[in-house]
């Protein structure tokens, strides 16, 4: 059998050699510069690790999940607050287990107790010493309105909102820890809706 005659029908040896030579020449002509490092993987990592959001959403997220309360416990509601802070109810689930003795390190005032007019200037001073932004939860009937002392007492402030601006009111005498935690959640929702542009002075 004549092999040569079969191959000759498709391409000649000369044609194949020429085609091979042309391919090499073409590759050589297109490969005069080194190929840059393939850094496509870097962009992939960035895509997986960067979230795009608004400044408001990010700041509010940080603020509402690390509220630090200041000590302001003039009366019996303090015990419910202490229970709230202790292990059974565990206020640290909401990022606020650090209860500061100094108002300069706090941004939340939980007013746990009856306030007398003689004590009122000191509460006002504590509030004034807290850095912005700051929030107030009025805890208990006395904190909201003076409670049982509201109408008859010569010595009790009828509600903390006479002294400081109150964001959330938690009723009860005293409120159960669940109620206080619910009030804290409500405050967190309130903070989530705040905007840097509209923030009260």
């Amino acid at each position: 059998m004549e092999v040569g005659s079969v191959r000759q029908r498709v391409y000649s040896d000369k044609e194949l050699d020429q085609a091979e030579g042309a391919a090499i020449e073409a590759l050589k002509a297109g490969s005069q510069q080194p190929i840059p490092d393939p850094d496509q993987w870097l962009e992939e990592e960035l895509k997986r690790n960067i979230l795009l959001t608004t400044v408001d959403a990010m700041i509010n997220w940080a603020r509402r999940n690390s509220l630090w309360p200041v000590v302001c416990f003039p009366a019996c509601c303090a015990f419910e607050f202490i229970t709230t802070a202790a292990s059974r109810f565990d206020i640290s689930r909401f990022g606020m287990e650090i209860i500061r003795a100094s108002p300069r390190q706090a941004d939340l005032m939980i007013t746990a107790g009856t306030l007398t007019w003689k004590m009122a200037p000191n509460v006002r001073r504590i509030y004034d010493q807290m850095p912005e932004p700051k929030w107030v939860i009025a805890m208990g009937a006395c904190g909201i309105s003076g409670g049982i002392f509201a109408s008859a007492s010569y010595a009790v402030v009828p509600g903390y909102n006479r002294i400081v601006p109150v964001d959330v009111y938690v009723p009860g005498c005293p409120p159960r820890p669940e109620a206080l935690l619910y009030g804290i959640r409500q405050l967190q929702k309130k903070i989530a809706r705040e905007s840097l542009a509209k923030r009260k002075a």
Binding site: K118, A152, S153, Y154
Partner: protein, 147 residues
Amino acid sequence: MTIALPGKEIADKLAGKFPGTIIDSNQNYCLVKSEALLRIGTFLKDNPELDFKYLNYITAVDYYEYFDVIYQLTSLQYNHSIILKTRCPRDSAVLPSVVGLWRTADFQEREIYDLMGIRFEGHPNMKRIVLWEGFAGHPLRKDFNGT
């Protein structure tokens, strides 16, 4: 338990020593004139048979026309006590201070002055203790009407 001496028994002892100073006495208390309060107090404290060196408390009652001020005295040595009362009119509510006899009286007389408006003469620091300076009126008086 501390023995509560009858006021009458004390009144009988005082009557001979301070004639005309006992207004009233019964099982429960002995009511004396305010002019003689300090003299009687000194006697009750220093008499070795009575030995009322300890003042439990002072309190005051508003009876509209007058105020009663009540002293409970105790002897820790004999474990007995009495109720001594004195009286002052409402329009000139002034009494002698017993701070010189019993230091317990210091804050309690200030509290009575603060809430009831009875001034204690001879007190070293007669000013309000609970309410603030400038508060109008004395809130435990029955005619006090302010919120």
